[in-house]
């Protein structure tokens, strides 16, 4: 009798207020990519270019929340994914974008679009298509429940692979010495 075909994990990924560095690091798992395609199938992701997230087992989210669209996408992921992973420093603690948090948003916009050198008659972008920036940048867990966290800027390919294989095997991810990194 043939062994039952193991169902692949359906995985969605996205980058919110991130730099796509975590996605690049994800690709750094190198030859594990061959094992990965046996383990998972991708739903919405920059890797598939699918725009809407479907029902998934796992959502990997890079980046924190800096605007209203980030919050919208995060809530969609929470609604459609059984488990969510905050991937990388920005998703875990706001990261680099959160370093604007001690400044007033109005002051930042003024400086960027009105008063910084080289700007003449600058306008603060106000197109209705543009998502409104949040007053402060937040990590994911301040808005929805996050099941697992993989810190690092970016987490190494090794860290991502270890976490994914732990999750696929039904374990909480454990990153040992040298793999658990915040930088």
């Amino acid at each position: 009798m043939d062994a039952p075909v193991k169902k692949k994990l359906r995985v969605a990924t996205t980058s919110l207020a991130g730099c796509f560095g975590c996605h690049m690091s994800f690709l750094d798992i190198d030859e594990h990519l061959f094992e990965l395609v046996e383990l998972v199938e991708f739903d919405r992701s920059p890797l598939t270019d699918i725009k809407e997230v479907g029902d998934c087992d796992l959502g990997l989210i890079e980046g924190g929340l800096c605007n209203a669209e980030n919050v919208h996408v995060l809530r969609e992921f929470r609604a459609r994914c059984k488990k969510l992973v905050a991937l990388g420093a920005c998703a875990v603690n706001g990261g680099l974008p959160a370093q604007r948090n001690h400044l007033k948003l109005t002051e930042i916009l003024e400086e960027v679009y009105h008063t910084s050198p080289g700007i003449t008659q600058g306008l603060i972008p106000n197109d209705p298509e543009l998502p409104l920036p949040l007053d402060k940048v937040h990590p994911l867990h301040e808005v929805v429940k996050i099941d697992w966290f993989i810190p690092g800027c970016p987490p190494s390919g090794e860290a991502i692979w270890k976490a994914l294989t732990d999750i696929a095997a039904g374990r909480d991810p454990q990153l040992g010495f040298g793999v658990l990194r915040y930088d």
Binding site: A86, A89, V92, N93, G94, G95, L96, A98, Q99, N101, H102, K136, H138, P139, H141, E142, I146, W148, F149, I150, P151, C153, P173, Q174, L175, F177, G178, L180, R181, Y182, D183
Partner: protein, 230 residues
């Protein structure tokens, strides 16, 4: 040296007057800590070195060793409490490791690695704390201060200068420098001061030295803090 207590079941000898953490250290056992430093009087404020002594929670840096004590340290429950303390330290300040010169040499970070902290867990305070770059040789980045008071003790007890102090109370406590202007440049702090060497995190930094040691060769890249610490 005939007196002993047990630490996680292991017999630890001690001399009269030694604290639990001192005796444990002499016996080659590491107890997580941040505000404790073997060269200074204990401060007992970070609570990371909390152990149970005959079932009661005690700071091992301020509790004297006594014969027959049953001390527990490396337990799941105590390490869980330590992780929570670390998480609170991380959210109370602005700890952005990727852009910190101390990353890889930071005791807060290394201790969090050791205890497997995957997330700061709590809501971040994101406090607004301006840096002090007034001194020609030294930068103060208060965003990373964990109020361990090591610089305060080193300046007072070793340098004899009292350059630093903790001001305020409770959540309003902050590190200040002893100058009417509040600027380090207007104090008598100078390169060579012990106080400028002891910061366990990235508050007191020598200028023009940042990121001099490449990733992979920093203190805690090579070995975890439990195997590294003095």
């Amino acid at each position: 040296m005939s007196q002993t207590f047990t630490l996680d079941g292991e017999e630890i000898p001690f001399r009269d007057g030694q604290t639990i953490i001192q005796a444990a250290h002499d016996a080659g056992r590491w107890i997580p800590h941040l505000c404790y430093h073997p060269e200074f009087k204990p401060h007992g404020s970070c609570k990371l070195c909390t152990v149970t002594v005959n079932g009661r929670h005690m700071a091992s840096c301020t509790t004297q060793a006594a014969a027959g004590q049953t001390v527990e340290s490396d337990t799941e429950a105590l390490n869980g409490e330590r992780r929570t303390l670390l998480q609170m330290l991380f959210v109370e300040g602005n700890h952005f490791c990727p852009s910190c010169e101390k990353s890889g040499d930071c005791k807060l970070q290394a201790t969090a690695y050791e205890l497997g902290m995957m997330t700061p867990h709590f809501d971040h305070f994101y406090p607004s704390r301006p840096v002090d770059a007034s001194h020609p040789e030294v930068l103060l980045d208060f965003n990373r201060c964990i109020l361990c008071s090591l610089c305060v003790r080193a300046s007072r007890d070793v340098d004899g200068k009292c350059v630093f102090a903790l001001s305020g109370r409770g959540i309003g406590t902050k590190l200040v420098v002893n100058a009417a202007s509040g600027r380090l440049a207007d104090t008598d702090a100078a390169i060579g001061d012990k106080a400028l060497e002891v910061c366990p995190v990235g508050v007191i930094l020598k200028k023009r030295r940042g990121f001099a040691v490449p990733i992979g060769e920093r203190t805690y890249d090579k070995a975890p803090i439990s195997e590294t610490e003095e």
